[in-house]
């Protein structure tokens, strides 16, 4: 009973808020549980952009942040609450591709434009005409990395991936396709489970085949574990390690240290990118939070700006008008120039930089 009263009270509040000036926008991110670091970065990036928007002239945005907890049920509940109760005109998020596959149909069915900032798996925008993403899909990033490997003389490759996680599996599919496209000979494909700590069986087999490169698609913890073990098993610097998006995290250097040296990974953004817009963003983020932004914060920062411009172009808080305006996006953000394709994916991968691990930190690869 108390539950119903609470619901009714919230309903009254939200209808009252609907009459006010700012456009209601929702953010769904992982703010609790083991993957909370991603969501916290996304929230910080979006809130920094919002503070700058409020300081400028443009249309005001009233942001409601909801936690998904990293589960698909959590993401669905958050989206339903944002749409049904807060009547948001658009949603930024959720964090994981899996969450988007669960939550996307709900938002799309209600005609609320939803923009994933970190959902890189294949098929995200196939959910429906209201689902956008500003995250570069791995299908755009990995070929750039592969091309760099080919330029370094790589001819044969072994692939290794975590088979129990949607992100890693999707990244592996992309990596295999990119390797074939680049004309590399795939010597073997090995898999493991995300929580595994021993990879010696797979690595011993790979070592015997002597590939020029090893491609790894997994989250950062298992990638670190694999790299640490390759050094124990005697893989030398002649083997080039290629990471998927999961390896694109400063934590790789913190966990694996020097064992990760030489690994290359494609990234849509890099903290030390020299253009003034990016430097201003990094400085502002540092002043606000006390630490450097990561890729997730940068993507969320750009996305909030893109959405704000779309709301200004739409000239109304109607989700349909905002969706149409999003398609006409022409933004220059910290990740570089940005437009959407007709299929609501990022139009170009020219912002991709190939990074290389060196002494436990990333730098731009030569």
């Amino acid at each position: 009973m108390r539950f119903l009263v609470m619901l009714a009270a919230c309903l009254v509040l939200s209808t009252a808020a609907g009459a006010a000036e700012p456009v209601p926008v929702g953010l769904v991110a992982i703010l609790s549980g083991p993957n909370a670091a991603y969501g916290t970065a996304i929230r910080a990036g979006a809130e920094l952009a919002l503070a700058e928007i409020d300081a400028g002239g443009g249309p005001k945005i009233a942001l409601t942040v909801e936690d998904s907890g990293g589960t698909k049920d959590g993401a669905i509940n958050a989206a339903r609450k944002l749409i049904g109760r807060d009547h948001v005109a658009a949603i930024i998020g959720p964090t994981l591709s899996n969450e988007m596959f669960a939550m996307g149909p709900v938002a799309n069915g209600r005609g609320v434009p939803t923009i994933g900032t970190s959902t890189t798996a294949a098929g995200i925008t196939d959910i429906g005409p209201f689902i956008f993403r500003t995250a570069l899909p791995e299908a755009d990033v990995i070929p750039v990395t592969m091309a760099r490997a080919v330029a370094r003389g790589v001819k044969t490759i072994a692939l290794l991936y975590a088979s129990d996680d949607a992100f890693s599996k999707s990244g592996f599919d992309t990596m295999r396709a990119a390797a074939e496209q680049a004309g590399l000979k795939i010597l073997t494909v090995e898999s493991f489970a995300s929580k595994d700590t021993d990879f010696s069986a797979q690595l011993t087999k790979i070592k015997a085949l002597q590939p020029d490169a090893v491609g790894i698609s997994a989250l950062v913890e298992p990638v670190s574990g694999v790299l640490l073990q390759t050094r124990q098993l005697g893989f030398g610097p002649q083997t080039l390690f290629i990471g998927g998006n999961g390896a694109n995290s400063p934590r790789l250097g913190q966990i694996a240290g020097a064992a990760a040296d030489g690994l290359i990974v494609g990234s849509p953004w890099f903290v030390a990118k020299p253009d003034p817009l990016n430097q201003a963003f990094v400085a502002a983020f540092h002043a606000r939070t006390g630490h450097d932004p990561d890729q997730f914060a940068a993507q969320a920062y750009d996305t909030m700006k893109i959405l704000d411009e779309a709301i200004a172009r739409a000239g109304s808080a109607s989700p349909g008008a905002i969706r149409d305006a999003l398609l006409r996006t022409d933004h220059h953000g910290v990740m570089g120039p940005f437009r959407f394709t007709d299929h609501r994916d990022p139009a170009s991968a020219e912002g991709v930089v190939v990074l290389e691990m060196h002494g436990g930190a990333f730098r731009v690869a030569e």
Binding site: L11, D73, I76, N77, I83, G84, S163, D165
Partner: protein, 282 residues
């Protein structure tokens, strides 16, 4: 539908929670039937997965209507229960718990490695064919059935087995048959719950049916108490609603959630509903 707009909006907003309440209620009953007979069998999540995957495949590959899919969804879990029932029912206590958790993990590995089942990406695009009223109708029928059975001589035999299986056998209760019976009933209920949830949320993945859900289902029954079938359903509802009711507390939400559960276990050791059904005189 002819609901007033504010009510339609309210139902739409909480649709996922309303569905979860019904589905988790069914899962709690699946747990109840085995616990009521003294079997610590934790295969409910695995049976739910079998029901969900088999029904999703029937819908996606064969495009069968939901009215045909739902009854068929119990076939795979019940068949699997028959298959594993023989060897596992020799076990009891924690050994049975470990064996049934192991079965769930085996199935999870199968889902991950069989391409037809989508691997880690799961199956998506399942038609949203399960109406809310049907979920609650099935829950109500299951509650009523278990209530009637619990009050009959079958319920008496099950309680005797729970207290002391050897003594019950000495009194003429066919313990093996009862154990297989409750396992099959549990598999059927969990299979239905799996099919209903798969056809209410449009997407399923292998990690929805692993170790964590198995333990969550057990906690439904333990929090609610197993004196009657109503206890586990109440437990499921409390555990499903709490995180949503506490949404307003944002960052401390999970902490409060945990505190409530710990307090309930400390002060209500026999469950929220520590009430025993009265039996019909034999």
């Amino acid at each position: 539908m002819t609901l007033p707009p504010f009510l339609a909006d309210l139902i739409w907003t909480y649709q996922n929670v309303i569905v979860a309440l019904g589905v988790n209620g069914l899962l709690a009953l699946a747990m109840y039937v085995v616990l009521a007979a003294g079997q610590l069998s934790l295969g409910q999540a695995a049976f739910m997965g079998l029901g969900a995957y088999s029904s999703a495949l029937l819908s996606l590959r064969l495009q069968l209507p939901f009215t045909a899919v739902l009854p068929l969804s119990v076939v795979a879990p019940v068949g699997f229960a028959l298959l594993v029932g023989g060897p596992t029912l020799r076990l009891s206590g924690v050994y049975l718990a470990i064996a049934t958790i192991g079965l769930g993990e085996v199935l999870r590995a199968v889902y991950l490695n069989v391409d037809v089942l989508g691997g880690a990406l799961g199956l998506s695009g399942i038609p949203e064919a399960a109406p809310i009223w049907l979920i609650y109708l099935i829950l109500a029928v299951a509650l009523l059935l278990l209530w009637r059975v619990g009050r009959s001589h079958i319920g008496r035999a099950m309680e005797a087995m729970r207290v002391d299986a050897a003594a019950a056998a000495a009194m003429g209760v066919d313990v093996r048959r009862y154990r297989l019976g409750v396992l099959l009933a549990s598999a059927a209920l969990a299979g239905l719950a799996g099919a209903l949830s798969a056809h209410a949320t449009d997407f399923i993945g292998p990690n929805d049916y692993g170790f964590e859900p198995a333990v969550t289902i057990l906690s439904f029954a333990l929090l609610g108490g197993i004196g009657s079938p109503f206890g586990p359903v109440l437990g499921a509802w409390v555990l499903t609603l709490l995180p949503e009711l506490l949404r307003g507390f944002a960052d401390v939400r999970l902490v409060l959630n945990g505190v409530v559960i710990v307090l309930a276990v400390l002060f209500l050791p026999r469950g929220l509903l520590a009430w025993r059904m009265r039996r019909i005189a034999a």
